[in-house]
Amino acid sequence: MRRLSLWLGAALVALVVLMALVSLVWTPYDPTLVVPGQRLQNPSAAHWLGTDAMGIDVFSRLLIGAQTTIVVGVVSVSIAAVLGVPLGMLSGQAGGWVDEVVMRVTDIAYAFPALLLAILLAARFGASPVTAMIAIGLATIPSFARVTRAGTTQVMSSEFVLAARASGTRWPGVSMRHVLPNIAPLIGVQASVTFALAILAEAALSYLGLSTAAIVPTWGKMLRDAQSVMFSAPLQALWPGLAIAMAVLGFNLLGDGLRDLLDPRLREVT
């Protein structure tokens, strides 16, 4: 069961990555080519998933959309991790008032609505995937910081850290040799789950028009375009919806699977 979620998650994630990679070198049609003569066609041998309201090949758009999805996920998770992990480690290692200050600031940031942040950024710098990624990244820093802090405090209370301190190892050594390697699995799980969150958030922002400029094909944008023809051509909403669900499910399952795999309580069974 545990292994199943790991493998299923990995397979779905691999599929999304594969779509993105394929789209780099090949798509059946130009995913931005508007052909007014062939609007809203049903799936056929020529157009595997049909065409949309502008006459663009849906499958091509879906493939290209995977690229944006991956980029958005990678960039937002990187922003969150690069800022959140050191913050959490600082908090967990320093303790005392530093910990108190960092955690209270994190709490405040946590309470700030992510959507409002996205709207503010879009209003100031214009709606683009870049502002969306920054908004998502910034909004997920607190959860990274919290998970990191929890892991760090646990490692800091272990005797091997005490042993290291007793022989004069200072905090950079403790961080690099003891804390980071031991919380890495935790961060991996958090990254995977945040990745899913980022995909969903980007789709939502695209749907609201807060991410994508008109022509960049993303799954959220496809969903938004499908809305106007939802009753006449319901399949239009189905494809991007499925793709988003698949990617989100994939990263969530992968996160769960990793968590179980790396849980030392489950590992030491003999």
Partner: protein, 275 residues
Amino acid sequence: MSADDAGGGVLGTSETSSEPLYRVTDLTRSFGRGGRVRALDGVSLEVRRGQRLCIVGESGSGKSTLIRLMAALDRPTSGEISFEGRSIVGMRERELGFLRAAVQLVFQDPRSSLNPRMTVGSIVTEPLRSAHLRSALDAVDPRQRLTEVLRAVDLPTDAATRYPHEFSGGQRQRIAIARALAPDPAVLIADEPVSALDVSVRAQVLNLLSDLVAARGLTLIFVSHDLAVVRHLCDSVIVLKQGRIEEQGSAAQVFAHPRAAYTQALLAAIPQIRL
């Protein structure tokens, strides 16, 4: 620089030999809001160079608190600790080099005292990498030292490339002992080093410790709840109960004629084979 002075202090010990190595005076450590819980309450003791002192007590006796304070891993609420005649209370980490190089610890449970994600080699040589010790122990080749200490604790040299979980409990405790020996300390503090081990491997580790102490002329501070173990390793005993010293004396005297009722209870509680 203070680190250089510290290095000199460690090496040039002869002039201070009449002075006790450790002098602990009226040491108190409280925890909790308003210091309600007194883990340690007015403890005074001395440790001579070459002494093998055992601190006996049960959970809540303050024995772990005491050795953490002596290893400068925690700060006392009040009281004084001096090592080699220098007060270590309130000293900044940067100035503690002379203590860090000279005092090493072995903990109770090697499952938690060895980082599971480091190889045995890097675990054992970690103390050599700290800045303090690099200046105090000039020109030690880590690889050579690694081979030497692994041999000293009867572990194969190829153990260095493996991870702690590949070893049994007794072997892991040997790894922890090897790490403690790596910076060639003068004092070894062992916090219940055999109580997490099977009875059948305790004897091995105790024999090893006693050989090492004799061969390297170490000062041993051995913490235990088990008086039977103590008698073999130590020449003097301090019995702690609820943060206070209940009884102290030579090991032979405390064993043969325990004065405090609590010491008598501890002795009576040692499980004997019942036929």
